[in-house]
Structure formats: C-alpha cells, structure tokens
Symmetry: C2
Subunit: 757 residues, 2 copies
C-alpha cells in the first residue's frame, strides 16, 4: 500500500478501504453512498483523489497488503482502548492523530454519518472478539434438578420404567436388520417373547392370571418400549393389548382360563381381526359372516368378497396362530350384528389352516417389524366355544341371548371395552416426539452455523426461527404428557356412567397427540438439516413408524367428528352412534344458547400480568370451545330447519365440528397441565413447568388468533402482544431446553447419534 | 308382534317402535322425549299403555318380528305414494287409515312434532332408496378436454416429456430392489447410464458438446424422471446437473473439451463436493484447503479436521471417479477464498485413490438409490489443470488472477452459476406432489365410507373435510406448475442485471414449493388411511425421498431469509452476502415508506363479485407483501437505532423476514398463475383453471387471515365470507378433481396401486 504512504492524510481512510476490499461487494448503490461522502471531502488534492480512486480499484494482489493494514489498525485500536461504537472514520483518525485539530480532519470525521449507521459496528471488523451479541451469549443452564423433574414425569410407575430401561440393555434389543423385513420381523418377535417371559405380557391382567390388574401398567410399558422401537411397541400392543384385550373383555371365564396364560407368554400369538378392506373407520359395516349351525353347535366363518377380507392385521402374515375375528352373527338367516370369534389361522407347525388364506401386506412406510397381513375365510367351521360370549351368546335351544338388547348399544359397548388402544397409541406417539425433540434440541444446542461477521458461529438453537419451530412443540409435549397421564388414570378407574365421556376424551386426545407427533417429527427432521435425513439419527424411523398413528385405532378426522357429535349431545348418546332423534333433543333444548360474554376490557388488555394469568388462558380456551360448539349447533339447526338432509347438514359443518372437537381437547389439556403443575412440590421444577404452561397456553391462543380476531374476542393489539410474549418465552425456554429434554430420560442409545452426549 | 295385533290402534306407533328397536340406543334423554310425547296420548287405555311398555322393552328375539314389520310398512309406503317429508306418526297413520277422522288419531298425529324434527327423515329408514343427499349425488365429470389441458401443462417441451415416458416403458426402469440398498444403487446407476447413452445426460450442454444448449431441457428431464423414481432424478441431477454444471460453469474450454463428453455419457461419474460437516448452509465457511505449490504447479488438497470433511456427497460412496472439490485456495499463506478443483477419488478399477478416504453415509430416510458419502483428503496432490479456472487462475509467475476482484463477489458469482438446482429441485418436488395427489384423489373418488343411515356409502372425496384437505393443495400445485415454468424461462434466458433477482426468486420458490410438497404428501398419506401406509401405493417413497428437498440446495429457512434480505435491498446487493453498509442505505432511503392505503370500503366488501375479482386478489397479496417488508425494515431500523447489534437485530426479526419472503413468493406465484391462464386459448381449460386460480388466491388469503385481520385490511365479515367461498370452491372443484389430476399425465404404472385406473 505504498500509494497511501506517500499520501499520509489518506490514512484516515485506511479502515474504510480495508472494509470495502475485504467485506464488500461494492454495488452501484453503495458506490453512490461512498461518492456522497467523498464529495464532502473538498480538502483532497487532485493527487489524493487520484490515489484514492486507484486504491478503490485494486488489483487482486491487494489481498497481501490488506492483512498488513489490518494488523496496523488492530494494534492502533488496542493501544487507544477504543470505544466499540466508534465509526469507521473515527478508527482511521487514530492513524493520523497528529492532525486532529486540522480542518480536513474534522470534515472527514464529521461527515462519516453519511456512510450509514452500521458504520458503527466497523470496529468489530478489526476486533471481532470485542463483539458481544446476545445471539452468541445465550447459553444452556438448568434452574432445576433434572432427576427431580424426570421423577415427576415418570410418576407412580417410575419403578416399572426403570426396570424396563434396565432390561433394554440386553442385546436382544439391538436390532441389526431393520432393512431386511424378514429378519427384522424375527428380531421383533424374539424381543417381544423376551418381554413376555419376563412377565410384561401379562402385566395388565387380572391378578389370578398373573397380572397387576392395572391397565396403567400396560400403557406405561407400551410407552417405554417405544423408546427401543415402534415396531416392538406395536407388536407388543397387538398381542398383549388388542388380542389379549379382546379375550379378556369380550370373552368369559372359560376363555380366560384357556387362553390368557399362553397369550401373556406369547406361547399363543394372535391377531385382532376387525378392520376389513371395505370397512375401516366404519367398522359397523363389516361383511364377514358367522353362520350358526345349531345342529353341530358350530359357526361357519366366511369372507363373502374381497372387500370383506380382514386387512392390515398385525401378527397375521407370519406369527399368529389364532385370530379374534369380528363377524356378523347370523342365526336362521337373521343378522344379530357383530360378534367376536376365536378362529385358528395356523396350526402348531405354522401352516395356514384349511379354508384360511393369508396374504402378506408387504412393505409398509414403517413398522416393518410387524407382520401385517390380509386374512380371508372360506367357510371355516369353529366350535361354539369360539364365540367370545360376554355380550353375545346362544342358548341351548339355539336362541340368541344378550345382556344388552339393542344391537347398536351392544356393538358399541363391545367396542368401548377395546378403547385402550386410543390411550396406548398417543402415549407411544408422545414418546416418539420426545426422542425426536431430545435429539434435535441437543444437536441444535451444539450445531453452529453463521454468526456475526468475522465472529464466532452461533448455535442454531439461538436463532429465533429455530426456537419458534421447536420450543412450542416442546411445551406441547410436556402438556400432553400430563394430559395423557390424566386420561389414563380416569380411563383405568372409570365408572360406567363416564364411559361415553371417556371415549370422547380418549378419541380426541389420540387425534390431537398423534397429529402433534407427526408435525413435531417433521420439524425435527428439517431442523436437523442433512443430519436429520440420515438413518443413524433415527428421525426417519420415528417418523415412518408413527405416521400411521393418525390412522390407527380410528382415523383422526373421523374420531374428531365423533368427539364433536358426542359433545353436541352432552355425552348423553353412545359415542359411536347417534340415533335419529339423538341430536334433536339437543338442539331443541338449546343447552348451549348462553355463551359466556366477552369482557370488553379484556379484549384490549395487553398487560403482561393479564396475558400470563391462568384465568385469562382458561377463559379464552373455554370461550372458544363453547362458542364454536354453539355456533356449530345453531348452524346445523338452521340447515335442518331449511330442509337440508341431515347427512348433508353434518357434511356442510364437518370442518366446524372438527374445530369444536379440537377446542374441547385443548381446553382439557390446558386444564390438566395446570392441575398437574399445581401438585408439583419442588419449587424449581414447578417454576420451569409454569414457563412451559404459559408457552402452551399462549402459543395455542396464537395459533388460533385468526379465530379470536374474527370473533372479536381479542383486538389486534392483544394478539400482537401475545406474539411478542411467545417470542420472549421462546428465548427464555431456550436456555433450559436441553435440561428439559434431558428430563424425558430417554437412554442415550435410543437417541439419534447427533443427540447423544 | 302379536301384542300389537290385539291392540289395533297401537299400529300407528309401529314405525316408531321399529325405529327405536332397529336404530336407536335409547338414552335417558331420548326416553324423556318419548315420554313427553306419550303423555299427550291420553286416549290410550291402561291395557294399551301396558302393551306399549312391553313392546318398548323387547327380548332379543324381537329382531325376528321387526323385519316383518318393516316389510309391512314399506309396502304401505309404496302403495300410498308417500311424501318424503312425512313424520314417523304420519307413516304409522297409514296403517290405521280407517281411523283418520277419530280424535285419538288426530291427537297422535298432531303431537308428533314433540319427537323432534329429524323425525321427518324417518321415512328413509324404511325406504333408504328414496333418500337423496347432495353428499351422495356429487359425482365426477370433466367440463374440459383432459388431453388439451395436459398439453397446456406440458408446454413447449411436450415432445421431450412424451419421448421420456416412452423410454420409461423399458424394464430397466422397473426397480425390483428398493429394500436392498446395494442392489438398488446398482439399478439406479444402470438406469442413469441408459438415459445417458440415449443422449439425455448431455441434454442441456452447449451444441458443440452434443446438447441443445437449453437448460430448460434439463429441468424438464429431471421433472419427468421424477415420475419413475426420485433417487433416479437425484442421481441424474448430481451427475448431469451439479457435477457437469460445475465443469461447464466454473471450468474453461480445456475442461469442457476433456470432460463434458464422458460426463454426459456417465463414462466419467463424478461428485459435487461442496458441503462440509461443519458448513452446510454457511457454505462460505468451508475449511478444506488447496495449497498452491508454484514449483510443481500443483495444488495440495487437504481436509484439516472432521468438520471439514465433505459430507452427504452424491456419487461418492460407490460410483464417483472424480469430484469437483470446493476448497480455499492458498498461495504463499494468503487465502484467496473458495475455488473449485477436479480431484480424482477413484481409479479406473474403482479403488479409492491414495490420500482419499471415503465413508458411506449409510442408510437414509430416502433416496437410497443414491450413494451418498463423506470424503476426506489427506494432502492429495493435483496438477494445475485441476483448477476450474473461469473465475480463478494463477499466472505463470504464481500470482493469483481473477476477472472479479472482490473475493466475496467472486464466490457468490461462482455460486450463482450453480443456482439451477434451485429450479430442478422444486420441479422435481412438484412432480412428487402430482403423483401423490393423483393417487389420493382418484382413490378418494371411489373409496366409500359411511353414508346416510341405511343408505349407500359416500365417496370420501364428497366429505367437506376431505375436500378441504386436498383441493386447495391441488390448486396450489397447479399454481406452482405455471410459476415454476415462468421462473425456469426467466432463469434460462436471464441477463446479468437480473441475476440477483432471479437468485432470490429461485431460492424463494424452491423453499415454497418443497414445503408445499412435504405437506401435500403428508395429507395424501393420511387421506388414504391404511392404504396410504402400504408401500405399494408409493406415498411412503415419495414422502421419504422428497423430504430432504427442504434441506437440499440450501435449507428453506435460510433461503427465505436471504430472499427477504435481498428484498430489503431491492435486489441491489449480492444475493448471498450483504455487506456492512448494505442495508443502511436502504433504510436511510426509506424506499418503502409509502405503503399502499387500505380501501375502507373494500375492508368490509363481501360481495362474491369482489371476492372473485383478480384485482382484489392481487391488491391483497401486494398489500401484505409490501406491508410486511416495510414493517420489518422499520423494526430493524428501530432496533439498530436503539443500539442493538445488527446480528441480534436480524435475529429478532427472523420470523418477520421469513414472512416477508413468503409473501413475496406468493405474490409472484399468483401473478404468474394468472398471466399463464390469460394465455390459454381453450375456453373450457381456461374456465377450470380460473376456478383453481380463485381457489389458490382465496385459500392463500384465508391461510393468512390472522394477518389480514390483525392489520385490519379485512373485517371479520369479509374473512368469514372468504371461508364460505373457499368451501364452495372445494365443492365445485371436487367435481372435476379426477380429470384435473388426470391432466398431470402421470403414467399409470408410476401411480400408487389404489390410484390406477
């Protein structure tokens, strides 16, 4: 940079020249800015101007001089203990301090504002280590004891969870053959048998059959097994939940005595054969028949057509020996509705029984460790005792008997006893979300990308957008954790009078939690970038295995409609079936006509105290719940009054009904999250849980702000204040995000590689 | 039903009794309704009352009599040519017509309203075939010629598309080994080589090298190849897009002459080795070095640490012989920034070269037909000509040379030449969406589930919720189709002055289209229920293969921020890098200070004419675009004025910036969709496209209604009217949904099994 040495005054521009050459692509716009500034520097001689132009159009070799120049400036900055907000010309002025009383010097310094105010960060270009950005400083700490929070989450079954985690150290759970369906199915079967032998298959059974008489054990086991593998959880669920459950709940003592023992040990692998190709969600429409022959006291199980084949049946393709088959019971040409039969499908050598045709469902998006298959029956004869006869039997004279007269009521009572899957599935889903979030949040805490210019790179979890994508989902996962514990407890100990309500809650939370899981794992995948695409990080399997959870045990959209219909009738009607007069009494009675009033002051209240007040949250959730339900009811009534067919009217309001169901579930989750926190004794844990609660409450309100604005329950000023507060909560929770996922207690080996400590 | 025969007058209740027994689970509430009605029937004798009570508490055998009773009622209904809106007692009254002047008869009939008004659909219980519901009637038809629409979609490259589809009939494209990674990679390689030999590898090359000198050919080929398999499309893209593109755009004639021929024939398989473990999105931070040794005119390529290994590199694990390696060029200890070098990684026998270490990336969520791997270099020496020297060279004296002086500008110019991937990827994504939608919409048109009680089941596409889930996505797919054609055309023929703008548009539409694809395939999976989970229906592979498209060629979130920053500077700055003074001139000039004014009448205008007016759509899109951008700029300025570090300020506004970018992309998509439709000559096709355009416009506005309400650009009455109109558009478009997906022209064999005709 000899040319500068011979024009000493120009040294004042050295930092600027440095900046332009090192950092900037000088656009025309920027050239104009520079010109505007230089135009004010009338003190420059023609020679100096020429020299400056020369410098500003450098040869590639300029690079060399630049580093020397930068060193010179750096040393000057240290020497003079420079202020961090000095402008670029201020810095240069230090190189010509002897001129600081000269007019030209002052002209140069005084006009530097023309260069724009980011000018004032110029010093960091030379001393990047001086730069302090909040984005870089934000770091991880825990205000609470992680083990304590984990024990709060684990709750009363902490012992079982610990026991299972210990068991998972066994190498039978290290599946090596995920890509090879045949081998993987075998591995899953072996692991399932291992669990059975250790006593976990019978864990929920009545005590006489070796269990703890507590379905909660089963749900906790299924949830915990999910940590290892979702195929294993589902295989476990098919055998010990669905299949065993059908025998337990639909059969009588003779069946229990004969089968439960061997089912619990996986000595008798079986299927739950309900769904048919033609009838999945509309299970009442199944077409498989069971004709009763009184002479021989036998049933003939038959599949009339392809649409009536049993489809996607777990354990069918390979391992099942016996299947609980749901079929229409026909006696003397009279159809008595659906009953369940235990039908052998394979003999002890594993050969498919005569009259039974089994087809492998083939490869699936996920859960390939489970051997799903289709089953067809060609007039297969089974003895009388094959009938699971708790709700349906045939007397010695060949007459149909049932403790429940109505066919519909009987059918839905039978289904009702099998509703456990709607608790097991969302609990398993939530574990999948927890694994995904633990992996992703830990990785995002150490993965750095971009940063203040010339400075250190920033952990990606410090980026606001990254926080926005992950931390509300973390809060919702916590909320759902407690809500699912609540639903489980109610379900396990419920009275008959609560059955309809619990079916609605279970169905609703199943849909809500599994949709949450699908979107959580999608965010996890994307937030981990390319790493999220590698199988070693497990997000692919978690996603693929759990994707069908939104379909399992009832399609979410269908379930949400049932929840809404159930709400419309105040849980007075059967969950599944609402008869012809069913709705009408509801509409006529206008039970919901009195919606809460809006509070005109609250509509515009943007105080933080108010926005963080649990009463405000609950009021907002309840208002939404009630208003949507009432407006749906009114809309239905109006359409019916106008003569629209009721089926069409419900179809028109379908979207509306699903919103009503979602609002109902969200209110329950909010309430139960809050109630659970109130019972936490540890102050530090309670404090961090309240942060998560606030996040869940406000983020959910924000997610529905279109509705709150449209219904004028909130003014724009208020929804904007909520957005700001959610951002702030993201920033706060981010600091404890890693400890918060650590408290989920997922063993390291089941996390993605990038998420392990 | 003997008891009824002996109490003749009670026959008037036969239909009611029938209904109760057949359909209803009589709840307490319903019992009260019945009681209320019967209480008005004071004419009944004690005997009659007793008989009625008996009937209403039937034994299971009642079933038998019921069907006879039903036949009796049916025949009565036919005989009397019954009105469809008759009440349940009206029907019964037909059975006792001889009493129609009796007081008791009138009492029974007149009070039937107490039974509720769904009562008036009772007749359908006996004659379900009389019931006419709109939900059942809605059927498929085409108001346009499918082939004509397809040719409009295919556009000028229809010939190439047809040619490729013909080629795909060859059994080399029937991959049998998707589950076996090794075999699948081989199949994909073979298919890729087949395409190369047929001339498609060189399709975009300059004419002297055997191509058509038109990048558009390449994009259309990649899009069409996606129909067969996404691994094939990506393998094709790696070799003929990225690798060939690096030689073509960064190399000079000597490289073109030496390599392009064999690359185009896949005789020289290669890699594009840019991304490093530590630097993906922030590609400028890569750490691989290329030290120049002047004495020998060689470069020493080296990987300093694990973070600097090249990661996820396509063609690396197995097939690549040569790699374009991006590394920092160092001459005499001076770092001249990133340059590209052609480095051999395998010899002709396929053995990995000395000094090179390659690790297989292992199994991935998808794209397992592509052999991704990590590459490390341990002081690998390459000759001078390995340097791709269009933008970077070293003269005979060992001095660095470049036509672009600024290192940043040079780097981003180099990157800019490689931007084609941001067009190829979204076009491939859109094809994946089209396959998913074709499969799902066709299936939904024939899959029936539930229906009016006792009636036929309804195609699931007739359900409003199902329409809501799929049809806006169909419209957006059409919108993106035309928008991507527009972006391609502009990109292929752009001037240097448009480069920044095009980089922004390409990045934005890449993010927008790939996110659209992810959510479209998710909806498809769920909308197909269990069938959507079976691999035979392809949604799993489409989803898994394309999921990484949101990360490929730049993480979507990062890209959207670049788009926003680019917008903030009015495309005046380099797309990737905005220098220190960059933003400031922009803020200072307040270029966006004059936001359009809201029209106070339009805020509340709910007329359908207005809501379907393209001027309204464009105004609303533009208002949002401009308002978000301006408010983001103002917010940034405020934060900076308050002394916040610029990096932090941008972080605080990150979400805001991404919204600004999205609004920008959406406005372009809207405009280009509209412009493309204007050029369609066929009236019928234009009409159906306008429906889709209306859907895209209104659904997008609806998706942002929180914003429109919050900014008071629309009143609640207006957003409600828009929701209603979107519902109506769903209902209308549903009728033509199947022909509309047929027009995508996906060959049957590439659709899911459930979607084939």
């Amino acid at each position: 940079m000899k040319v500068l040495d011979s024009h000493h005054r120009l040294s004042i521009f050295k930092p600027l020249i440095c900046l332009i050459h090192e950092d900037l692509v000088v656009s025309n716009e920027e050239q104009n800015v520079l010109d505007a500034y230089f135009n004010t520097q009338s003190w420059m001689t023609e020679d100096e101007k020429k020299a400056l132009r020369h410098i500003l159009d450098p040869s590639p070799q300029f690079q060399d001089d630049l580093s020397k120049l930068k060193s010179e400036i750096r040393s000057q900055l240290v020497k003079n203990n420079f202020k961090h907000d000095a402008g670029i010309i201020d810095i240069g002025s230090e190189l010509v301090r002897e001129h600081k009383s000269d007019d030209w010097y002052l002209t140069a310094v005084d006009n530097q504002h023309l260069l724009g105010f980011l000018n004032y960060e110029a010093v960091f270009h030379f001393y990047p280590e001086w730069r302090e950005t909040q984005s870089l400083k934000l770091d991880t700490y825990a205000s609470f004891d992680i083990k304590t929070l984990q024990s709060i989450l684990d709750g009363e079954h902490a012992g079982l969870i610990r026991e299972l985690k210990g068991l998972f150290e066994h190498n039978i759970f290290d599946f090596k053959n995920r890509e090879d369906t045949t081998a993987f199915r075998h591995e899953i079967y072996q692991a399932c048998a291992f669990l059975a032998v250790k006593g976990y298959g019978a864990i929920s059974y009545p005590k006489p059959y070796g269990g703890g008489n507590d379905m909660d054990f089963y749900f906790t086991a299924m949830e915990t097994i999910t940590m290892v593998d979702l195929s294993l959880a589902i295989k476990f669920g098919v055998q010990f939940g669905l299949f065993a459950g059908s025998v337990l709940n639909l059969g009588t003592k003779k069946h229990h005595d004969q089968y439960l023992g061997s089912i619990g040990l996986l000595d008798l692998p079986g299927c739950f054969a309900m769904t048919e190709t033609g009838h999945g969600s509309n299970v009442k429409g199944i077409q498989t028949t069971a004709h009763y022959i009184h002479q021989t006291r036998t049933f003939i199980i038959n599949t009339p057509d392809m649409d009536a084949q049993k489809e996607y049946i777990g354990n069918a393709a390979l391992h099942g020996w016996l299947a609980t088959v749901f079929a229409k019971l026909v006696i003397d040409n009279v159809d008595y509705g659906v009953a369940a039969f235990m039908v052998p499908i394979r003999n002890i050598e594993g050969q498919v029984c005569k009259g039974v045709t089994i087809e492998d469902s083939g490869n699936k998006m996920g859960l390939n460790g489970v051997d799903n298959g289709n089953i067809k029956f060609d007039h297969v004869s089974v003895p009388y005792d094959a009938l699971l006869d708790r709700f349906v039997s045939i007397d010695e004279n060949g007459n149909f008997q049932s403790p429940i007269q109505s066919e519909n009521k009987r059918f839905f009572t039978m289904l009702g006893t099998l509703v456990g899957g709607r608790i097991g599935v969302p609990r398993s889903a939530l574990t999948a979300s927890k694994i995904g979030l633990t992996t992703t949040i830990r990785y995002s805490n150490i993965r750095r990308q971009f940063g203040p210019a010339s400075g250190q790179e920033v952990p990606i979890l410090n980026y606001r957008m990254h926080q926005r994508r992950l931390l509300p989902l973390l809060a919702k996962t916590y909320a759902l954790h407690f809500a699912l514990r609540y639903v489980t407890a109610r379900y396990v100990h419920h009275e008959q009078s609560e059955a309809q309500e619990l079916e609605a809650i279970a169905a609703g939370i199943k849909a809500y939690a599994t949709w949450h899981n699908t979107s959580t794992l999608q965010e996890c995948r994307e937030c981990c970038g390319g790493k999220g695409f590698l199988s070693e990080n497990r997000i692919d399997d978690l996603k693929n295995d759990s994707d069908v959870y939104t379909t399992f045990e009832g399609d979410n959209t269908v379930l949400m409609q049932l929840v809404a219909k159930s709400r419309l009738t105040g849980f007075k009607q059967s969950f599944y079936h609402i008869g012809i007069t069913g709705y009408l009494k509801y509409f006529a009675s206008q039970a919901y006509s009195s919606v809460r009033q809006k509070n005109p002051i609250a509509v515009r209240n943007t105080d933080e105290d108010h926005l963080l007040d649990p009463d405000f949250h609950l009021s907002a959730f309840k208002y939404r719940e009630q208003d949507i339900l009432t407006s749906a009811a009114k809309r239905l009534k109006r359409l019916l009054d106008d003569g629209m067919d009721s089926f069409d009217a419900f179809n028109v309001c379908q979207h509306h009904l699903i919103e009503a169901a979602e609002a109902y579930v969200e209110r329950i989750v909010l309430e139960q999250f809050f109630n659970s926190i109130s019972m936490v004794k540890d102050t530090a844990c309670r404090a961090v849980l309240i942060q998560l609660y606030n996040m869940y409450a406000l983020f959910t309100i924000e997610a529905h702000k279109d509705w709150y604005l449209e219904s004028e329950y909130m003014a724009p000023s208020k929804t904007k204040a909520i957005r700001k507060l959610v951002n702030q909560l993201c920033w706060n929770i981010r600091k404890e995000a890693v400890p918060l996922v650590d408290a989920f207690g997922i063993p390291e080996k089941w996390l993605g590689v990038i998420g392990r400590k």
